[in-house]
């Protein structure tokens, strides 16, 4: 026992060093925070549609796996994410619900006319009140909601090919199956 005690500092050092190494690993974004709403019910909302059609409400999304994407025409990382969303909607046939966050209606329309519209339906959150209820702190943010209406995952910042392949699509497959 006493003989091995001199190894203690080394063991402690390795424990602390591996903890720090985990914090420094490449690809980790220290700004990314888990949502406070994980496994909680979708906040209630009732948003006017950007284009023709009925309002987008919590009730209208019930009973299906839903992907909700907060975006804005003024948001630069959203432009980075746009091709990824386009691929999801055309290739994967994923019906994405868009929420135009703190964006003027005209600007959102213009932006989508320019680059194509990846969304099945779009709600207008002019003042960002619904974004507040979701705990949105930076657009784009993407939420995955299961059939029972509970939020299962939040992506902060633009989706990319990697997060779609490794996280979003497997999660969607799992949720649709259950």
């Amino acid at each position: 026992m006493r003989k091995t005690l001199y190894l203690l500092p080394l063991v402690l050092f390795l424990a602390v060093a591996s903890y720090f190494a985990a914090g420094l690993r490449p690809g980790r974004d220290p700004h990314e925070l888990p949502s406070a709403l994980i496994d909680k019910a979708l906040p209630a909302f009732d948003l006017p549609a950007l284009n023709e059609g009925p309002n987008i409400t919590t009730d209208s999304l019930k009973g299906q796996v839903v992907v909700i994407n907060f975006f804005a025409s003024w948001c630069v990382p959203c432009k980075l994410e746009h091709p990824v969303l386009m691929r999801l909607s055309t290739k994967e046939k994923l019906p994405i619900i868009g929420i135009a966050y703190k964006d003027a209606v005209e600007d959102s329309r213009k932006e989508l006319a320019k680059g194509g519209n990846p969304y099945a339906r779009i709600g207008v959150d002019r003042k960002g009140a619904v974004g507040f209820d979701f705990g949105v702190y930076g657009v784009p943010e993407t939420y995955v909601v299961d059939k029972s209406g509970h939020i299962r995952k939040r992506f902060v910042g633009p989706l990319n090919a990697d997060s779609v392949e490794k996280e979003l699509l497997p999660l969607l497959r799992e949720l649709t199956r259950s």
Binding site: L33, P34, Y137
Partner: protein
């Protein structure tokens, strides 16, 4: 020279700390406004992350300040108003982390480490002291044996 110094001093006196809280956000009721200010100092801005919403100029911080004031005006207690924000943005917004199982390591590990270190040092000191005490004096039999040995080596 003295005039320059005087005007510099005057300018320095005029420089007020820059406040993020905009005049149109403030509540007319000074008591409510005071509570809002105190609460905002303890809430983290999620965009800047190391600033409170009271100091931050970010849009989101403004939204949270306005929401907080709305809740207080609606008659919420301080706890209820803060819970309203925490329910949406998570416990991370609290600049002062609450004591709960998830934060035990954060709050108590310094005390535990200090305790273990103190114990180790005390044990080491005790051992050193024990090693330093002189052996008890020889009894009669040992004295005689010593004398005999000495004589033996002398001859």
């Amino acid at each position: 020279m003295s005039r320059i110094l005087a005007s510099l001093a005057l300018l320095a006196a005029l420089a007020l700390p820059a406040l993020a809280v905009e005049p149109n956000e403030r509540l007319a009721d000074p008591v409510l406004e005071g509570r809002a200010r105190t609460l905002s100092k303890g809430l983290r801005c999620m965009v800047c992350q190391n600033e409170s919403i009271d100091e931050s100029g970010a849009d989101l911080a403004r939204d949270v300040r306005v929401k907080l004031r709305e809740r207080l005006t609606a008659g919420d207690t301080d706890e209820a108003a803060v819970r309203f924000i925490v329910d949406r943005y998570g416990k991370f917004v609290l600049l002062n982390p609450p004591i709960e199982p998830a934060t035990y390591v954060l709050w108590f590990s310094p005390v535990v480490i200090l305790g273990v270190a103190t114990g180790g040092i005390l044990a080491a000191i005790r051992r050193r002291k024990a090693a330093a005490t002189p052996p008890p004096p020889l009894d009669a039999a040992e004295q005689a044996r010593l004398a005999a040995l000495m004589q033996e080596s002398d001859s």
